[in-house]
Assembly symmetry: C2
Homo-oligomer: 310 residues x 2
């Protein structure tokens, strides 16, 4: 039984971790958003891939909610003294990932190969695959003009009002070979769209020509888990952004957004009975993942739903 | 009164610090060896410039004897786990210097400009100037073949037997403009060759076409301080290297090596009366610099000798 998960950063990585813990090594392929990637201080940073790497390796910081546990910040302090750019916080241990990745990419390796190597070094049994080896960059049109994603997300802390989103480079990109291979695997039993931001994390992945087609072409059921509970995002700017682009922040809006791409939509139990206003099949489940048990339980539930849907 | 110091790393930086503390801000220009520079993990590392920066900024680690005080090593630990190259130890705070330098150089800045900016940020009153903005790379021919300097010095810990030295790129390099300007300054009162390794630290500087000529053209006296005391190097591989290339490890050999370039040679008091076998003027002084007072006292002594020699 093989499973593909489509994931952005922190929210998606929670369910990816549950799936990783429930499935045998090698069964799970996580296709990660790289629209948030950027070059910063000369380093190639892939925030969502890193969140997945650290989360699946058990290196994530459970208190801060991002980055690595037991992290130190000496680099940032020294950089600040040198007048360097410090708005994007890079921990000392985290830096090793960026330095190694940048060195490998500059040496001609693909992002897929670098990511596979990092995952192997960290002892991760699941595959983590970038959506594409080509650069696709999320840009955000706001009331202050166009901003690169991290400038919107981290530097400006999502404060500017969003007008539109663009995924630069998507038109000429193609899915990473390992992503297409995982989606075409005859043993594929489920495609899980994790509870990531549909507009900022999942849409960049689906914007790569051939990716949505590969999802549709697979006989495996596509199951999406809502990132919106009772009109609120568990974390991050999803609800604010939906409101700004004229959408009602609700699980129903997300379901309608995915539309026919999704076979089954998983609502949080708090939203049970919500009128999705669509013909999509839906079920409710406890989707709030605070503990590892929550993650494992939701993963089990989603895999069971996939079995039934087949 | 202006002073130029010619310096490599740790040994030279001690006297440079003494001079920096004795002279008013702006009076001292330290011309630094960049033959040890290399690209490592995608970063441009300038070990001797960094030693000078940290030493003059009071950020050097007095216990370890290299790098920054209050340093942490989380990056190295994380890099090791990722299978990265860990033979060259990069502290977390030290990394900020390399990342900022690399970013600036890749953006088109000269090494002179980057170094001046770093020194300014660290509140250093003296000028630290690379010997050249062009790459000059020390290579070491050993019984194991040719080695890049840091591979010889750090990775192999100076264990291979040295046959010869080469300064790649020197022939087509030219001195940094600020180095030439400092040497041509009509107010220049002394040129001090610090007690650095003559072959590995000072020779690369003098190998840049125009540098030795600028020293000779200056009316200021050139005063060299011996890095060899009683046939031993205070630190590092100077004596071992001299022995390997067929030279007697002695202050007299160093004096003969500098020859007519130097007007006055400062021996350690332990070597007082040593027959230099040359017509060079020489004096003895306490050259072992353990404390800041030792450094300041030797700096004062050297400056006084320069006054008399003028």
């Amino acid at each position: 039984m093989k499973v593909v998960a489509i994931s952005g950063g922190i929210g998606g990585a929670k369910l990816a971790l549950g799936l990783d813990r429930v499935l045998p090594p090698g069964a799970l392929t996580v296709i990660a958003n790289t629209g948030d990637d950027f070059r910063h201080l000369g380093l190639h940073i892939s925030p969502d891939i890193d969140t997945l790497l650290y989360t699946l390796a058990g290196l994530d910081d459970p208190v801060r909610g991002w980055g690595r546990r037991d992290e130190t910040w000496t680099f940032m302090q020294a950089l600040e003294r040198l007048g360097g750019e410090t708005w994007f916080r890079l921990g000392d241990g985290d830096l090793a990932t960026h330095v190694e990745r940048t060195r490998s990419l500059d040496g001609g390796a693909t992002l897929s190969a670098v990511t596979a190597e990092l995952a192997a070094r960290l002892g991760i049994g699941s595959a983590i695959v970038p959506m594409s080896d080509a650069p696709v960059r999320t840009r955000v049109e706001t009331d202050e003009g166009w901003l690169d994603f991290q400038h919107y997300f981290v530097r400006r802390q999502c404060q500017p009002r969003v007008v539109a989103l663009a995924f630069e480079g998507a038109a000429s990109a193609r899915p990473a070979a390992a992503a297409l291979a995982a989606l075409a695997d005859p043993e594929l039993a489920a495609i899980v769209i994790c509870p990531s931001n549909p507009y900022l994390s999942v849409d960049p992945i689906l914007s790569v020509p051939g990716m949505a087609e590969a999802l549709r072409a697979s006989p495996a059921p596509v199951i999406a888990v809502s990132p919106i509970i009772k009109g609120q995002a568990v974390k991050g700017p999803t609800a604010k952004l939906m409101d700004e682009i004229g959408l009602v922040p609700s699980a129903a809006t997300v379901a309608a957004h995915y539309g026919s791409l999704v076979d089954l939509f998983v609502l949080d139990e708090a939203d049970a009975g919500l009128d999705l206003g669509t013909q999509m099949a839906c079920v409710s489940a406890p989707t709030l993942m605070r503990t590892l048990d929550d993650k494992v339980n939701l993963a089990r539930r989603v895999l069971k739903l996939a079995e039934r849907a087949t």
